[in-house]
Symmetry: C2
Subunit: 464 residues, 2 copies
């Protein structure tokens, strides 16, 4: 009898082992397909080299939407469509230019003579330009908001230069970005409050080069919308050194402005679920990018990975139980209108989203998957770690999502996740002209798709 008592346990254990072997084999098939026949890299080449920068509202974005729709269809979507939404339409409006005039002692005398140096600048996204004539003023260097407050009486009529340094000691570079990012976001209005004429921010980067990094700023409507630009790290060091020695006058010319909101689109591909079509899993990235770069890592990578998962599922003949939506969001960089629209329409239609995952941290080698889930669901997901770890995501972390899928989480409580690739190289190129195709490694990009495909496969098969 004793033997028989144990029998069901053996059967259960046996079933679990079989399921695990089956899952392991399926994930290997997905990985082999992507690593040997992957189209992500060539798709990224097209997106970055043939289309290029694609800020919401731009012609590049219109082209990118049409291309995305075509690739969704070619990749085997049961259905692919454009989801219309209104998007902000900020334009750079011309060439950003800046020049510094600084005083230096003339050789052999104590007379100070002015010298000139061009600065490599980029206007911050959403910022207002200087108007037809340049803004010219003395520079006031502050290393922090605290220093700005302590020098608030000196701000009036000046160009405030926030020389806040990206903190190299954070191993996770996104922590340094969160820390420094406030100067880009709040810096202009906080300086305008005290009468500054314009703002320069040190780029949020630890790059060894001098490329300036743009990104969205947010004006506080209580104060004047003053021009705001970023400079690269070498210029930033130079500027702070000169200003410490004497007076530096900078002349800035930028042309940024908003045009009326215009029409943009999320690009959506779908594989219909065979058993639970009403349960939807979303995977996505954002199709828009800043205008000063190719947007290869940010977030061309997330887009081509998204479509690669679709392609690989079809290529190996995988029929999902649940409906999987592959989404290229319209407007992450300066409005989030695409993500909002997606969530809004999902709610209006009463759609049930069981999970959404985003890749928006670059196409680098995958290291972890992050999840924002109730504890019991996280425990379930955590069991799958040994199946996915061999492909790069050796860590499963609590906390994960993405800007574009945030609205789904906020409005419907959808559990979210993120692909977390290695972050060391991201802020070298983030929002800078160096975010180009050549900075992306084919296999690193592909492995990101493999790891996301694996977690989607498991959630599709077992639910969440």
């Amino acid at each position: 009898m004793k033997k028989w008592l144990f029998f069901p346990l053996f059967v259960m254990a046996g079933t679990a082992i079989c399921a695990q072997q089956e899952d392991s084999a399926m994930i290997k098939r997905i990985s082999d397909e992507i690593l040997t026949h992957g189209k992500a890299y060539e798709n990224l080449r097209h997106l970055t080299k043939k289309i290029g920068g694609r800020l919401a509202g731009s012609g590049g974005m219109v082209k990118a939407e049409q291309w995305g729709l075509k690739v969704m269809q070619e990749s085997g979507a049961d259905k692919a469509w454009l989801q219309e939404c209104m998007v902000p339409h900020w334009v750079r409006g011309g060439t950003d230019a800046a020049e510094a005039v600084y005083t230096v002692p003339a050789t052999g005398t104590k007379n100070m003579i002015p010298k000139k140096k061009g600065l490599d600048i980029v206007a911050l996204g959403n910022s207002e330009g200087t108007g037809k004539s340049a803004v010219k003023a003395d520079v006031l260097v502050v290393n922090s908001f605290d220093e700005l407050e302590s020098k608030k009486d000196q701000v009036k009529g000046k160009i405030v230069f926030y020389n806040y340094k990206f903190n190299d000691t954070y191993v996770q570079t996104f922590l340094a970005y969160r820390d420094a990012g406030q100067y880009r976001g709040q810096g202009p209005s906080r300086a305008a409050k005290y009468g500054a004429k314009a703002v320069i921010v040190r780029s949020m980067s630890h790059a060894a080069d001098n490329n300036p990094h743009t990104g969205a700023t947010r004006y506080d409507s209580a104060y004047a919308k003053i021009p705001a630009v970023a400079i690269g790290l070498r210029d930033a060091d130079w500027l702070s050194e000169q200003a410490a020695k004497g007076i530096v006058k900078v002349s800035l010319k930028t042309n940024g402005h908003f045009l009326p909101d215009t029409i943009g689109h999320n690009v959506i591909g779908e594989l219909k679920g065979s058993e639970y079509p009403g349960e939807i899993i979303v995977v996505g990235g954002h199709l828009d990018s800043w205008d000063n770069c190719e947007g290869a890592h940010d977030d061309g990578a997330g887009c081509v990975q998204t479509m690669e998962i679709l392609r690989a599922f079809k290529a190996i003949g995988y029929t999902p139980k649940r409906t999987i939506r592959f989404v290229l969001f319209a407007n992450e960089e300066n409005g989030l209108r695409g993500g909002n629209k997606y969530a809004e329409e999902a709610k209006a239609k009463g759609e049930k989203h069981i999970f959404a995952i985003e890749s928006d941290a670059g196409g680098f080698t995958p290291r972890s998957l992050g999840f924002t889930l109730p504890d019991d669901k996280f425990a379930k997901v955590l069991q799958w770690k040994p199946l996915i770890a061999p492909y790069g995501c050796t860590e499963f972390q609590k906390g994960g999502g993405g800007a574009d899928i945030g609205p789904l989480a906020r409005t419907q409580g959808t559990p979210t996740g993120s692909l977390n690739p290695d972050s060391q190289r991201y802020f070298d190129i983030h929002h800078a002209r160096s975010d180009v195709f050549e900075a992306v490694n084919k296999r690193e990009l592909e492995l990101g798709a493999v790891n996301m495909a694996a977690i989607i496969y498991l959630i599709d098969k077992y639910g969440l």
Copy 2:
């Protein structure tokens, strides 16, 4: 009484917690020092850009030794010296050149007319050149050794082209290298056995470019030492396609040969142990590189990381209990004479090496530490994983070492370890002209040093 029974346990637990906090703080200090004041990147710039390629026996290697000695001293070694050893002296001897002549149908006719195409080749390390006149012969393509055996009757007088593909499906790229590497190592002699005039191997790489990758071949003295070259992946695909359609004749001109063995040196820096000076810990990389590249990842990275650990220990005022040796080995690529010499002298002097770790897998983002240790020692090391994981090495693996520290392990049973950085980009550039400074990321390089410094600190403090 019950209370008192537990007291020693509390004390022990408390002590353990304090030690852990102290270790955590020390590792953070090391990391902060390296990430903010690190010299590894600038040292690598010098080694790659001012010195460049440095094969054993070359002038570049002599310069590199002198430079290494100086940097060891500047980094604060108690003592730094050159350890002489005889090294092989292979020279490329001139420019490698190859041309293919293939027959194609003339437009509008069935006549076949010959066309020419240059091939981008690199002679394999240790290979013998073609002599003054080029080797010219029809190409026989084989995709594997099995195919070579099945076509052995066709080999005589031909140039055998091993078109064995680097297996993309291995996530750990070193497995693909081990798999394909046998064609570079054994290919020439296995073809010479059947009368081949020369050998071409497909590069051991999954790079998207066409750079050929060199590396050591090993002749079997039973057969003729025929010339052997590598070609890049695009040329390899082209060659196999043409050969499948018709006859391709290739002309090869190489000039490789050995000169008499010459003098080389390991570069050694030392921090003397304050409590157990007789227990030695080694950390190292190899200073030699192939001649066709800057040897930035292979293994300039390991060298500058090694010296960075020395610099950081001194900069934060860390006095080791045990003696730490920082070693730049003389001859990993084609002889291992440096590693052999180091172990030989250690044995002769009766030195006790408690641990040796090598960084020779590129300066990429660190992912794991590997250890070849008895189980009890591995269990001890494993306890430290939570202290090191925040800096990148989230995995501790069984199995780890390096070519140069192998002789220590073999002759004295020294426990060994390795830094295992992410391997996706390594075989894009390994032994190819693209292994240059620009392919190395500053922070990834530095974090490698941080992780090795942390494990050395712990082993130094607690022994092994």
